[in-house]
Structures are given as C-alpha cells and as structure tokens.
Symmetry: C2
Subunit: 224 residues, 2 copies
Amino acid sequence: MSQGRAVVLLSGGLDSATCLALARATGQHCFALSINYGQRHVAELAAARDIAHELGAAECREAKVDLGQFGGSALTDDTLTVPHAPSAGIPITYVPARNTVFLALATAWAEVLGATEIHCGVNAVDYSGYPDCRPEFIAAFETVARLGTKAGVEGAALKIRTPLIAWSKAEIIRRGIALGVDYARTVSCYQADSDGRACGNCDACRLRRDGFIAAGVIDPTRYQ
Amino acid sequence: MSQGRAVVLLSGGLDSATCLALARATGQHCFALSINYGQRHVAELAAARDIAHELGAAECREAKVDLGQFGGSALTDDTLTVPHAPSAGIPITYVPARNTVFLALATAWAEVLGATEIHCGVNAVDYSGYPDCRPEFIAAFETVARLGTKAGVEGAALKIRTPLIAWSKAEIIRRGIALGVDYARTVSCYQADSDGRACGNCDACRLRRDGFIAAGVIDPTRYQ
C-alpha cells in the first residue's frame, strides 16, 4: 500500500469520484481539488465536497478561476445552448484549455504539498471529442510538470495518473461500485439544477445513463 | 507585417512590457493578459493596464486565480521574507507552477480569440533560477497547447513566442528603448509599494538595476 500524497482532480462527477476511490484504495493520502471555473452546473462543486468527505480525502480544496470570461463554451456561457444530441467533431460543451488549466493548478498544489502524483479522471473512450482527454495530451502535460517545477528539476517528477482513460463508462461504474462509490451523490449533468438533479438530455447524461445500462446497474441518478 | 492576433502575457514588469512592444512592432493585434494570482506586489497590475494602453494593445484583460492559497512562495505568502541577496538553487520567490498556470490561461483565451501566438517575456539568462523560464519548458508547453486544444487538433497549433529568452537584461532594455518603452511605468520589484515604487533590494530590483547600468541607460525606476 502506497502512503504517498496525491492531488486528485475532483469535479463531482462520476468519473472523478471513481478516480478518487481508486486512489484511496491504494492507500494514498488524497488531496481533492475542485475548480470553480464559471461552469453553469455549479451543483457539481457541492457534490465534490460531499464525495471527498465520504471517500476520506485528507482535504478538499476549491480553486476559483473564471474561464467564463474568455467564453467559447456552452458550459460557461448561458447564451449558448447545451445540445441534446451528439454532434460531429468537437462539441460546443468543450471548454477551451480546461484540462490544461486544471492540471496546471493541480501541479501548483502538488508541488507545495510534496505530492508525487496527480490523479485525473479523464476518459478517452467516452470523451465526447474533447482533445484534452487524450493520452498524448496527458503525456505532454507530464513533461511540462517535470520541466516547469522545482520538484521536477530536483528529480522528484510528478506523475499524472489517469486510470480511467481506456475504460468504458460501464467498466468505470462497475469498478466504482466495487469500491463503494455512491453514484447518487455524483453530478455529471451539464445543466444540473441547484440541487444537483440531472436534465437527462445532454451528452453527459446520455453517456452516464448508457453506462449504467451497459453495466447492468440500476441508475441512481436524480433526474429533474 | 503580420496582422494576426497574439495573446501577450503582461505582468507589468520590464520584460513583459518589452515583449509587448516587440509584438506590436510586428503589427500584431495584441491581447494583453495580466494575472492577479495573489502576488504581494499587486501594483504591477496597475502598471500592466497602463502599459497595455500606452503600447496600443487591442485589449487588456485581468484574470484572477488565487495561487496564494497553495502557498510555498515568498511572493504570495506575507509570512515569508523576500531575500535581499541571491540564493543558491531555486529561490523562495519561485511561485509553484506559475508559468504553467499563466500559459494555460493564455491558451484558453488565445483559442477563443482565434489567436495563433502567445508571447511571453520569460528570460533564461537572468531567470533567477526559475525552472519555468527555460526553453525546454516552453517547448514542452507548446506541445501541450497543440494536443490539448480544439485549434491544435484542427491544425492551427498555437506558437509560444519567447523573444527575450536568450537576451541579457541590458539587451532587453536597449531593444525596448529603441521601441519607445517607458520603463518608468514598469514595476519589477517583488515588494513594490501600492504606488509601484521599488524596494531597491530584492533580486528583481538588483537584476533590473544592473541591467540599466550594463545598457548604459539612466535607471528611471521610482524607488521607495
């Protein structure tokens, strides 16, 4: 069992909750980092705090950075509509450079904590066409974290762990349930209401619902 | 003359002001991005707005992200003392992952703007031992920006320009003066007062003063 420190990016959704449960199962001291980036589905931040506590994170920190001021995404701009059907190419729910910003903030905290790993629940199978969920992006960021930090220069390079990256949504759910994740607490919906109830129509809801069906597990999602 | 769009990271210091002047001299439409990251020398942000206007930036945006909450640097933690003499190794004024966070935010804005370049005034000669001012770090980040953005996937990869990276401070000052930069407006000091007057003692002040001496230019810095 590893007793090291890890920063775990925790959105409050299904994938990152599973990612935290996996890290906890290896015995790591987990420091959960949630980012308030101006997302319309702010209910996921309350879910993140709840999940971090439930899964025994050593600390749960919320960092605020206003990506909405740059615009360009339906997730941060209320004047753009979240689509109800899958789109060709990279969808309008893509938030420019979001995972680059998230990993950069996780790197900053990891360096101060003396953490040796960052865990991130990105998934390249059900990734909705987001470029910053691909393995080659993660590998490139790991190089940045090694070259751009004091820890990296001094020989303690950060590892970026993405255990879910090649799993299907069904596999993620099965692994999470085996680890005791309560998915009723998680919020995946791009336009969840203030109580965290899902719309049932957006891309994130569709992927999630299909995942529960494929996993043969009753969907505990609270719908609007 | 290039007529493209560039995001220019503008701290309000000597290097980034010169960087903006160089970009403007090539005819680029420059979008200046300043980051309020919890730095103690917040006077540099007012200087940045002033310089952006003076040098004809198309827009000057301030993004807020609290790196101070993570601690670990004398620049964001008032309980740590800014040293008056150069230190061995990476100094305590290093802010964990600062340039990674800055470049990530610049990438986000660049993507929304359709900008093809990010300009950053990092300098590897007088870099005070900061790992995230080295050419290999910048090259690694360019790969991240290419792989992690919609623009990069669609073939319009962002270039990260660091024209000052191999110049001495004296050379930067000479080039800036030739382009009309008014260095009296810039704030480099790590503990500038609220009016932007420099302490004259910190590492940044020392590098800057030595630069003016080596360039044979009268130092216009306003000292406390």
